[in-house]
Structures are given as structure tokens and as C-alpha cells.
């Protein structure tokens, strides 16, 4: 790492890279190898015990503005410790992010913090920048959903997107249900109590912790047997021997006995095919089918999996096995010619890969300015360009601040002849 990494090639300060996820936010500086901080995407109001989630799409704009402002304030002044006015911002976003959330976020950055420019970078595209390749089929397994987007020659193939709401949130819900139903709690005086009797509902942080520390994804054979045993109606299928139980200490002297059978079966919801026969693995094949024929071989041999949920132990192995199993089905084998699948290992943990791509892009000071939305542009137009909206004015005239704009552009804005 160069010693004077604070001094860019033109003396410009390094940009800030923020990845606002539904569960966790990764923030740091461009050009570094990893985010400085991974913090939960929530804020705590004084006097309230429950934290407020930052990434909410259903609340009205004003409340969202206040929440985002508070969160970004904490990011800048507690974690990054820099002046907002000096540094450009790169925001990693999902392409399915609703426009009003983007616009509110932009408004917070420009109006409240007066940053010089903002760049919204799609997470799937940024993930392939960490690999040095141009085409890949990128799957982002996050908290709210799993989203697959193929990228060919650095262009996202937008019509081929596929998504399922199977992510960390769905796993937590399932795990919570299983724990409440099947597990018992020991307190210092009694044993074998049911969960709701002792503690009511289990807080989400505890469920997440149990998921991270005790659960894993079984391999294909075992997983299929577990699914059979769960769904069978005549009682013939037998479940493979469950892993040992775990005694999980809750606060105080309470101990929650997590049954072993929960540990390996809760993740099966990602791979169970529901009535539409969709699972996390079938998303990849469905996306491949939607892609143009010539691209399919390249894409299937360059799979990239990012996102926090992909860090579960055993997930990648199971995913590859499921894909290879599903591709034999007539639905896919008639359409897809090549059956070879290969997966990449990016130089970062899956939950930071998109962030790393953004950091690499943010380090390119030559072009970061021209590709970002500057504060002047925002003040003039009041909006931020979005891929789904075609009515944004071209910004060339606004970049040459100080020089006269070319005559063509001038006519586009003014009404006089």
C-alpha cells in the first residue's frame, strides 16, 4: 500500500464508499482493501429500546429523511471521522432500490451534508470489478432477498434479473418459529419451560446470533433427505441423524436448548422448491435461460456469489450441487446446452465484495468526477438520474464549469432561439 495514500493523483481526497444494506452497512474509504466498519443499519433514539431500521421503503419521505440524516451523521462523525464537504461519495445500491429512497438519500447527502458529488453504483456490477473479468452471473444473497443479475461485457443484462424474498429475514422468521415451537428454556429455578412462557418473543439479535453460531447448510444428499422427511405424508422417509443440541445462554440465568434438528434444517428453506419450483439455485438457471444464447456459456462458467447470507458454512458447496442437479431436469436441459458451472472466489468476504468493487472504482480519481452526479447538477435539476427514468437532461453542459458550454447544449435548456 503506498505510504501517502491520502494524497491522490491530483491532490483530491479519497472518496467515501458506503454500502447501505438492509441489515448491515459497510462504510470506508476508496482504495482500501476492506471497509473500515460494518455496522447494523439502524439508529437508536434516546429513550426507546427498539432500534429503528434505516432501510425502510414503506415510510413516508419526511420520516425517512430524518432517519437517514441521523444515520449518515453517525457514519461521518463517529466512524469515518472526516468532513462531508471534502469528499465524493460512492453509494453501492441494489438496482431494485425504489426511486424515492434513492432520492431521499441524495437529498440528505446534498442538502444536509453538502458533499461535492454522489455516485450510485449497482452492486452486481461492482462485484465483478474485484475479479478483473468482464462477464459474470452475479447472485447477491442479502437480508431481504436474493437477487440474480447477469453481467456480460460489463453491461448488466437487465431483462434477465431474477429475485426471491429468501434471505436473512426469511431465515430468521423460520428459525424463530422453530425455536418457539420446539425448544425449551431452563431458568435457575425450573427446567423445560416453553419459550413463550419464560421470555415471550426472542429478540431478533438473539435469533441472528443463533443462526450465525450454530446453524449450517447440509450437503445435497442430506438436505434432500431432510426435505423428504419434512414433507412426507406417509411417514416412511427417515430423517438423517441430527447434529448435537446446543445450550445457548440467554441473558440472566436462562439457557435455551437449541435442538440439533433445527441446526441443519432451518437453511433448507433456501433450497426447498415451493409450488412454483423456485429456489435459490433455480434463480440462477432461470436467469441463464433468459440470457441470449451466445452469452450463456461464459456466464455459467463465471458465477459470483456475494452477500451476507452466502457466508453460511456449506452454502456455496450446496448451491453448486443444487444447480448441477437442477440442470438435469427437462425444463433446463432442453434449453441449456452447456452444463459446466464454475464459481469465483473474490478477494474479499462475500458481504464486502460489492463494497470492495465500489472502493476500487472510487479510487479512479480520473473519472470518478465525470461519472458522478455533482452538487451543481443536483441543484439545477433537483433530481438524480435513475436507470428506469428516461427524462433526465444530459449533464455535459454542467461539467465544464467556468468554460462556455457548447452552443448545442445551450439551446436545449433555454427557450430563446
Amino acid at each position: 500500500m503506498p505510504l501517502f495514500d491520502g494524497l491522490g493523483s491530483g491532490g483530491e481526497k479519497t472518496a467515501i464508499v458506503i454500502d447501505l444494506g438492509a441489515a448491515y452497512t459497510k462504510c470506508g474509504f476508496a482504495g482500501e482493501t476492506g471497509p473500515r466498519f460494518i455496522i447494523p443499519s439502524e439508529i437508536r433514539k434516546p429513550g426507546q429500546q427498539q432500534a429503528v431500521k434505516v432501510v425502510q421503503y414503506n415510510i413516508n419521505t419526511e420520516e425517512l429523511y430524518v432517519i437517514l440524516k441521523e444515520f449518515i451523521h453517525i457514519l461521518y462523525f463517529r466512524h469515518l471521522l472526516v468532513n462531508p464537504r471534502d469528499r465524493r461519495v460512492v453509494i453501492i445500491e441494489s438496482i431494485l432500490c425504489p426511486s424515492h429512497f434513492r432520492e431521499t438519500l441524495t437529498k440528505v447527502f446534498f442538502m444536509q451534508f453538502e458533499v461535492p458529488s454522489v455516485l450510485f453504483a449497482p452492486s452486481h456490477l461492482m462485484a465483478i470489478m474485484t475479479l478483473g473479468i468482464n462477464s459474470a452471473l452475479v447472485m447477491d444473497c442479502g437480508h431481504t432477498e436474493t437477487l440474480v443479475l447477469p453481467v456480460y461485457e460489463c453491461t448488466p443484462i437487465l431483462p434477465a434479473w431474477e429475485a426471491l424474498p429468501l434471505g436473512g429475514k426469511a431465515i430468521h422468521k423460520e428459525l424463530d418459529g422453530l425455536l418457539v415451537e420446539q425448544c425449551t428454556v431452563d431458568t435457575d429455578t425450573t427446567t423445560g419451560q416453553s419459550v413463550p412462557a419464560v421470555i415471550g418473543t426472542i429478540p431478533e439479535e438473539t435469533v441472528e446470533d443463533i443462526k450465525v453460531r450454530t446453524c449450517f447448510v447440509s450437503d445435497l444428499q442430506r438436505g434432500l433427505k431432510i426435505q423428504e422427511a419434512k414433507f412426507n405424508l406417509d411417514g416412511t422417509a427417515e430423517r438423517p441423524a441430527p447434529p448435537p443440541d446446543v445450550d445457548y445462554p440467554l441473558d440472566g440465568e436462562k439457557i435455551l436448548h437449541v435442538k440439533g434438528s433445527i441446526r441443519d434444517s432451518v437453511m433448507e428453506i433456501l433450497f426447498e422448491q415451493d409450488n412454483e419450483e423456485k429456489s435459490v439455485a433455480s434463480l440462477i438457471l432461470d436467469a441463464l435461460v433468459k440470457c441470449p444464447i451466445d452469452t450463456r456459456k461464459v456466464l455459467s462458467e463465471n458465477l459470483v456469489v456475494i452477500g451476507g447470507t452466502a457466508m453460511l458454512p456449506g452454502f456455496l458447496h450446496r448451491l453448486l450441487a443444487e444447480i448441477r442437479l437442477l440442470v438435469e431436469k427437462p425444463k433446463y436441459s432442453n434449453v441449456l446446452a452447456s452444463k459446466s458451472f464454475r464459481i469465483h472466489a473474490p478477494p474479499a468476504k462475500p458481504n464486502c465484495t460489492a463494497w470492495l468493487g465500489g472502493a476500487i472504482f472510487g479510487a479512479l480519481q480520473d473519472i470518478l468526477g465525470s461519472r458522478s452526479v455533482s452538487r451543481d447538477y443536483y441543484n439545477q435539476t433537483g433530481r438524480i438520474p435513475d436507470w428506469c427514468c428516461l427524462s433526465t437532461p444530459p449533464p455535459e453542459s454542467l461539467y465544464e464549469a467556468g468554460k462556455t458550454p457548447p452552443p448545442l447544449m445551450k439551446r436545449a435548456f433555454s427557450t430563446e432561439k
Binding site: 451534508f113 475479479l131 446470533d209 450465525v212 470492495l356 480520473d366 473519472i367 461519472r371 457548447p406
Partner: protein, 450 residues
């Protein structure tokens, strides 16, 4: 009536971009704009960095180099408490005489709260008290640096293309002698403007449209693209049968403290340097003057500049400034747009009240001369040095309201004693002219007695 002194009973209205109502103790007063400012209408800036445990100031260049972490202090990776350095004596062979052993001091890190020590993760004891412990390096650093260099080269080319195109476009207006050259330049690179126009905000296409072209004398940096793997490592077999011991598995929070590694096993949790905190300075957005600037020294809580509203604006009943101040109160009009909270009508004294100036020595001077103000006993309840108590009549409007809130406007004169002395061309221009300020005040008086 002592409840009137609680902070959120009396709120002042700040007319910034948004209407904010806040008690005076949380507001600032910009004396150049002569307006109240709240925390939302000022811009915050980072002033200085310091370590919260050793309270050492760090200049910002050093902070940037050390990634905002203290050089001496460490955080426990288990409980995030500050680690302390402990020393033990271990027998070690003397360098010149291997047979004899002498006691040498060895240092290790230990947490006083959760009893974690650096020996738990296998870090060897160091012989120096500070500066010996290094944080582990990310194994992917080299590859990432190469990627950045490669993309920087592509970016440089894109910038050059853009500059050349701009130049080419402009030069088309110039005389014919130059136009041949520009056409030649555009043709050589052969890409139409459509493909290369990088619109901001459009889904960013890559830099691959410009693969490295020859003709440049810099050496090309190529990068080998990452190789995809056919197989992924499966879960170890004993995962299905081995009982886990929870203290050995890291929690998510412990893992996320080290984003580069995120270890799953507690035996790989290395301590990190402590993160710094910063002091903030506030600046008025309109006139760009500093409203609050803290001291440089981390141990000092004073401020170099501190324009808190309480010391500038009239507190109800108390005059903080040193000159005689005239106050007049006015009830809000019927359709006052600021008047949204009041649930009671208020009748305020219509005469102007006069408040004496603040005199710091007055409290020690018992033989002070009685102040010579003619007070109407119906209006003024008591008067003491710079304080005054006055009566207002409150008529609650509704019976069932929980809280009675009244709002009215205070109008007082303010002399800006600290304004820069302008070179007065008129000569007799009095720089301390009084300006009249009006504040909208709301008073929450509490519930109605049944």
C-alpha cells in the same frame, strides 16, 4: 413555577430551512446574522482527533495514515473494552552465556473485564511495552492493489479520450488548418461519440470499452483475470456430529469488528487498535462563521468560540447581556402561521419592560444602590439585578386538553458588541447600534388542575 425552568417547557422557534422548536439551551446564536440556529441548520465539521483512552491528540495527517486508530491503545476483540499491558518475568537465557538464565520482562495484553489475554490467540509476548504488537495484514492486499492499478490505467485512457474529444469538438470551429488534424485524431481512435459519452448517473458501464490500445509509450499493466473454480470445499464431516462449544465460536458482532478477516473461531480474534473520537466544530451555513469551536487539547472541555444562545439571547426573565434591555411582549395574532401549538390565549403586559444589565460584581455587592425603575405592581412581580418577574394571564381554551401551551413573541433590542469595527467613513458611526430581534416563544405550562 419551578417547573418552568425545565428545559423543554420553554421552546424557541428557529426559522431555518425547517421550523424547529427547541429549548434555548440547545440552540446557538449567530451574531453576524443575528439569528437563532439549531443543530440542523449549521454544518458540522471535524475539528480534531483524539484517543478516548489515552487522551492523546492526533494531528489529522497522522490520523489519516493510521486509519483513525490510536498507535498505543488496543481494544479487546471479545468485549471491546480497552486492553491493558501487563508485564511478567520470564526466565530467558542471557545472550552471551546460554547456560545461565536471567529474568527478563515480557509484556502481554490483557482485558480487565472479560479476562481475555493476547496469549489466548497465540500472540507471543513482546519485550517492549508498546509498539511491539502488529495487526495482521489482509492476504488479498497485493491482488487488490494490482486491480486498482490496472483500472487506473483504463481510467486514465478514458480521461485522455474525453479530453481529446473535447478539444476536437472545440477545434472544429477553428480555421481549416487545424481541422485535418482533429479528423485524423478522431479517426485514429475510431469510436463514435455515442459509445463513449459517459453520462453521469446512467448505469455505469465499465471501462472495458477501452481496452488498452497501442501507441502509448507507457508500459501496459495487464492483469490476469480471476480463475473460477470447479469445486468448492464441502463442510467437514464432523460438523454433523461434533458438539459445539459456544465460547469458541465468535459472535457476529465480534466478527464484524474485523471486516477483513471475520474469523469464525475465537482463537483467531486479534486485537485492533482503538478507534479515535473527534471533536466537532459548528459553522453557520449562511455566513460561514464558526459558532462553536472546541479546544485543541483533548482533556479540556472548554471552547475557543462558543456562541450558545443562552448567553446571547434573552432568557425569559433574565437578561444575560450587560446593557439595559427593553423587552416588549406581544401575543400572537389570530392567523399567525407559527402559532400551531398554543391551546390557550394569553394576555401579556402591553407596556415595555426594562431589564437592567448583567453586572458580574452585583452578587457580591450587598450595598448595591436600589435600581431606579418605576414598576407597575400589576405587571412586575419582583425585580432583582438583571432578573424580572412579570405576570401574564392565561385563558385556557379547551377543557379537556392535557397540556396548556401558550405562545407569544418577545421583542428585544440587541447590541452586537463583537461586530468587527468597520472603518467608519462617516466618522461618527456608532458600531453598537441596537437591532430589534423578535423571537417566537412557546411555554408549556402543564396540565390543568381538575
Amino acid at each position: 413555577m419551578a417547573s418552568l425552568l425545565q428545559p423543554d417547557r420553554v421552546v424557541y422557534l428557529v426559522r431555518g430551512e425547517k421550523r424547529i422548536r427547541a429549548p434555548l439551551s440547545q440552540l446557538y446564536f449567530c451574531r453576524y446574522c443575528s439569528e437563532l440556529r439549531s443543530l440542523e441548520c449549521v454544518s458540522h465539521e471535524v475539528d480534531s482527533h483524539y484517543c478516548p483512552s489515552c487522551l492523546e491528540n492526533m494531528p489529522s495527517a497522522e490520523a489519516k495514515l493510521k486509519k483513525n486508530r490510536c498507535a498505543n491503545c488496543f481494544d479487546c476483540p471479545c468485549c471491546m473494552h480497552t486492553l491493558s499491558t501487563r508485564a511478567t518475568n520470564i526466565p530467558a537465557p542471557l545472550p552471551d552465556d546460554p547456560t545461565k538464565t536471567a529474568m527478563k520482562k515480557a509484556y502481554y495484553l490483557a482485558c480487565g473485564f472479560c479476562r481475555w489475554t493476547s496469549r489466548d490467540v497465540g500472540m507471543a509476548d513482546k519485550s517492549v511495552a508498546s509498539g511491539g504488537w502488529q495487526e495482521p495484514e489482509n492476504p488479498h492486499t497485493q491482488r487488490i492493489n494490482k486491480l486498482v492499478e490496472y483500472y487506473q490505467q483504463l481510467a486514465h485512457r478514458e480521461k485522455q479520450e474525453r479530453d481529446r474529444k473535447k478539444l476536437a469538438r472545440r477545434r472544429q470551429c477553428m480555421p481549416l488548418a487545424f481541422s485535418q488534424h482533429t479528423i485524423h485524431v478522431v479517426e485514429k481512435y475510431g469510436l463514435g461519440t455515442r459509445l463513449q459519452r459517459q453520462r453521469s448517473g446512467a448505469p455505469i458501464s465499465s471501462l472495458a470499452g477501452l481496452s488498452l490500445k497501442e501507441g502509448e509509450d507507457q508500459k501496459e499493466i495487464t492483469i490476469e483475470p480471476a480463475q473460477a473454480l470447479e469445486e468448492v470445499e464441502p463442510l467437514p464431516e464432523d460438523c454433523y456430529t461434533r458438539p459445539i462449544s459456544l465460547p469458541e465460536v465468535t459472535t457476529l458482532r465480534q466478527r464484524l469488528l474485523q471486516p477483513d478477516f471475520q474469523p469464525a473461531g475465537a482463537s483467531q480474534l486479534h486485537p485492533r487498535h482503538k478507534h479515535l473520537l473527534m471533536k466537532r466544530s459548528l459553522r453557520c451555513r449562511k455566513c460561514e462563521h464558526n459558532l462553536s469551536k472546541p479546544e485543541f487539547n483533548p482533556t479540556s472541555i472548554k471552547f475557543k468560540i462558543q456562541l450558545v444562545a443562552e448567553s446571547q439571547v434573552l432568557l425569559t426573565l433574565t437578561n444575560p447581556v450587560e446593557n439595559i434591555t427593553h423587552v416588549s411582549l406581544a401575543a400572537c395574532e389570530e392567523d399567525d402561521p407559527d402559532d400551531i401549538n398554543s391551546t390557550a390565549k394569553v394576555i401579556v403586559p402591553s407596556k415595555e419592560l426594562v431589564l437592567a444589565g448583567k453586572d458580574a460584581a452585583a452578587e457580591y455587592d450587598e450595598l448595591a444602590e436600589p435600581q431606579d425603575f418605576q414598576d407597575d405592581p400589576d405587571v412586575v412581580a419582583f425585580r432583582k439585578s438583571n432578573k424580572i418577574g412579570f405576570f401574564i394571564k392565561v385563558i385556557p381554551q379547551k377543557e379537556e386538553d392535557a397540556d396548556v401551551t401558550v405562545s407569544f413573541k418577545i421583542r428585544h433590542d440587541f447590541r452586537n458588541l463583537a461586530a468587527p469595527v468597520r472603518p467608519s467613513e462617516e466618522g461618527a458611526d456608532n458600531p453598537t447600534e441596537a437591532i430589534w430581534l423578535t423571537h417566537h416563544v412557546e411555554l408549556r405550562l402543564g396540565p390543568l388542575a381538575p
